[in-house]
Amino acid sequence: MTLPMQTSFTQRSIFERFPFIPALGILAVLLILNGLAEPNSLSFRAITGLTKTYLALMFLAVAQSFVVFSSDIDLSVGAILSLVNVSVVVMIDQLGGGPAAVLFACFAGILVGVLCGIFNGIVVVALRLQPIVATFATGILFTGIALWVLPVAGMPVPQSFWRTYGGRILDIPFVFYVVALLGLLIWLAVRTRFIIQLMAVGDNRLAAYQSGLPVTRIRIMAFAICGLFSAVAALCIIGDTASGDPVVGNAMTLYSVAAVVLGGTALSGGSGSMLGSAIGALIIGLINSFVFFVGVSSEWQNFAQGIAVLLALMAGVLVTRRISK
């Protein structure tokens, strides 16, 4: 008798296999709501604009996912984003602003992000400091460095950069290619052995250690990958805002955590979905635009957005829990 390889759906519900489905549902609902409030918001142009603005948050949410999977958290992602932002902008400026300079600066920026991530990894894992407060402290540190690199926001970026970001290739907006790339990266990542090990570490760290997994190395790698994706998010921000700002990302940190939760990932680690986190970022974007379109007066907009995000968070947590039961 051979053992069942594919178990029936009663034994492992479809929601368990694809934790991002509830997020997809919420996304659909929000798209409909946005469409009802303002039909133009579903136009190709509007969707492109939405993607351009929230692509950075999508990458940031995916970055955060890696760390959350291993039951840590990184509250410095926004600061890493800011640091990479100003580093790249200043580097481009120093190197003359030509296309070669831009490419070099981008790669250097990603390296900066990875280094920040490794630093976080060492602080949290090797030095055994608690992630929430430790990454908050490193975030302040990174912000300090960012302020040193570029004390005042505003240094512009050459046209080649934001023209590419906002432009089209073969008549399809550049950002959609980037989204596709992100999708591909997620698809690949989910199929790696590393992810299984990462989730095992997040599920039960002691058990993973006893099973012989190199827990320290795995957790530090998660932080490093988080730094890498945060750096890519920074590049998106540069494309969108076309300038450097040492504190641009700081407010995004908490949104990245919210996006991860909305996407069906448990903050306690061990289970979740990167695709869900990316969708979660879009959900936040759609919530903000919905509040705007619905005609809430400008002073009440923040409040309405706050309530909406809170409700969405509750929904995300509740649905994820019901699935796990």
Partner: protein
Amino acid sequence: MKNSTNVVAEIAKTPLVVALGLIVALLVLGELLSPGFASLSQIMRLLIVASILGVVAAGQNLVILGGREGIDLSVGGVVSLSAVVAGNMMQGSDAGIIPAIIACLATGAFFGLLNGLGVTLLRIPPLIMTLGMLGVLQGLLVVVRNGIPSGLAAPGLAHFVTQPLMFGVPGMIWLWGAIGVLMAAMLKRTLFGYRVYAIGSNENAARMAGVPADLIRVCLFMFSGMFAAVAGFCILGYSGSSFSNVGAQYMLSSIIAVVLGGTSLSGGKGGYTGTMAGATLLVLLQSILTTLNIEEAGRQFAFGATLLVLMLFYGRGKALRG
């Protein structure tokens, strides 16, 4: 003989003692860098600022002690909102003090109750729930800022907070001391305190022993809201009038004060005396950095680095290997 030196070594390692030692060290450092830093009036001023942070940290401490990743990220918003509420109820008159304090406590209790219900009934992780609540509060503050004037503190309040009350020590500091005593009594000598530590250490076992964990946790969040509200009320007395988002800095400062004081973020371990030292330490640190007159970049960097170094001394986790 050997036993007594061991005991001394053990005591010396506790977070409270380390914090106190660092406080003394920083005072000396500050005096060296800028004579007059450690003067009595300066120390009083620092203590007033520390006491306001300490009040917020008291609520944060309770929530963190209760375990289950308890944390309150909304305290900053409650502080700011409460300052506005207080100002508007007082309108610069002493007669408004009592109504203002009642209104503030009610505000804090209200948002604390919402946080508590979200965490217990809906089982939303505290990080998420209070984060969302913060967003709501910040939105509310925008509305309030645009619509309602910020109000004015009553002279009586300002006097209480900033001027010496007894033995040359301002009332605010006395209030903080009283809160310290109350917290110690509540945590160590009441059933409520036992239960807080119980649910923070092993909630399941506590429930099996009949501890009403959900009820206690809601209380903890309500306490946090009320403490934050009191702090907002006092800030008004400190600065005379409120400006929007005056409370933003208190969110992470209160958490750090609690951690520096030796309370574990996973709950069930620690106490308020350590937090009081932690708050003082933090305020002292910020003051020194300001004195050094470093530009913003350097200040942030130094602040972050110092935090990391301090956390290295306590607040470290257990190694996986024995």
